[in-house]
Symmetry: C2
Subunit: 283 residues, 2 copies
């Protein structure tokens, strides 16, 4: 393993540890249950799942896998969603540079479904890929409140904007627009939440400090919203509406999300993939 | 409108009425709530939804729509799933005979999610399409018990086999195999239930008596299972397992079902499409 692979992998593992520790602090009693899995082809992951009072369901997964042949699946969608952006460093790889090449991938993936409808759902992903001669970063974070508050949305975006700006002032406008396009539920003609940032194919090691900054921005962007809203009283009617509203999250993940579909279609770990789905949903 | 269109459409409307009446009889108190919708391009439908005690959620939709341009979506999957079968009358239309042609479609679609985990979930669809110069029937019915009983499965299949055999002894073996292939949850490597029959592109009016027989077989195949199991006592643990097990139904419908995805991607009526999803699901 190269030093850089090891550095990224261990940083992501540490990021997972820091996030899990802070979430357990917020939760109070219940702890994350950690399970490890091995990938037949090489590497594996560590799933951390919480079924708590504050977080009705929460998942935070770390993984680092390697293999001889990258399971490249051509996707028309990817082209539309990832226009080249040389200035930012977004470079679409050519299919022939990926298909069947040796690969390494490591990342952290998180989704939290709070019980209280006033505490927003949140998602975070940061990942690093090496495929053949290429390497790139991808990921993003977005906020999905059942009951949105402008001030909460503004806080979440401001923390992300600051993290982006300190590296490249062009990043936040571009990546928040990308999130608006990516986290869009076509059949409902609406975004799944109030946005955040999304990026993929951010090519080259020069972007590592930026990606670290995004990972580091997660807790300052999200934790204050939990602390602010967790005490708000909700009614049975609020809860019933929340269960119906959660259906949209399932619809997005199962119908549109490339990561979920890629995982399902390439024989990924079902438990890890479905950790993102809400604990209880009504239609 | 041709006489045949009118005949099929009115028969389907009557089938819906007969099924709804019998289900209301089984339910006892609560009635189906009927709402009509119009398709901007022409025609429309009547949704019947039940939120009852026996049937926690049930939907039975009738529709008859027409349009100037058939929204043909080429699908690799369809080829694999519908091999030509000249003897049975299964003939795959060529894309150029469908795309952009005037069309008419009418059908009945039903899904029932009982509250008691011992009463099986069931699905029925019968439909008739005219596109350009072509016309065909499609549909099927399948049983999805949370707690399967061999004798219930045998009864359901026997009624379908009898309905098939009276028209063509080759039909049941072929169409029940087709159901095993179609109602398969790839990422779980398992069928969604205990099968039934499935068919598509059954071409020509000669198949109308057969399709009528399938529609007529639904109540005798299903209603006795409801009467037999509705009294079985279930525990909180049974209920919790049922809610988790229902996730598979959502996964099948949102990830694999061509009808659902076709509807979502062509701007279908979301309420009618999601009537098939279970009322409450846990992951």
């Amino acid at each position: 393993m190269t030093d850089f692979r090891a550095e990224v992998q261990e940083h992501f593992r540490g990021l997972r540890d820091r996030i899990v520790a802070r979430l357990e602090e917020l939760e109070g009693g219940t702890r994350f249950r950690r399970t490890t899995w091995e990938r037949p082809g090489g590497g594996g992951g560590e799933m951390s799942e919480l079924r708590g009072e504050l977080f009705e369901k929460g998942g935070c997964n770390f993984s680092a896998v390697a293999g001889e042949r990258y399971p490249f699946v051509p996707s028309e969608g990817a082209k539309v969603l990832a226009p080249e952006d040389e200035a930012l460093g977004v470079r679409l790889p050519r299919a022939e540079d990926l298909a069947g090449k040796p690969f390494f991938a490591t990342g952290v993936s998180l989704v939290l479904h709070p019980r209280n409808p006033y505490v927003p759902v949140v998602h975070l992903n940061v990942r690093y890929l090496q495929v053949g001669e290429l390497e790139w970063f991808g990921g993003g974070t977005d906020l999905t409140p059942c009951r949105p508050y402008d001030e909460d949305t503004a806080h979440f975006h401001q923390v992300l904007r600051d993290a982006c700006d300190s590296h490249d002032p062009r990043a936040y406008p571009r990546l928040s627009q990308w999130a608006r396009e990516y986290f869009y539920i076509q059949h409902r003609k609406s975004e799944r939440g109030v946005g955040g940032i999304f990026f993929d194919y951010l090519s080259g090691r020069a972007h590592w400090p930026f990606v670290r900054a995004i990972g580091d921005a997660f807790l300052p962007a999200y934790a204050p919203l939990v602390e602010k809203r967790r005490g708000q009283v909700f009614s049975d009617e609020d809860r019933a509406q929340q269960l119906k509203w959660r259906g949209r999250y399932v619809e997005f993940n199962l119908v549109h999300d490339r990561g979920t579909l890629f995982g399902l279609k390439t024989g990924g770990n079902i438990e890890a993939i479905f950790m993102s789905l809400p604990p209880l949903v009504a239609w």
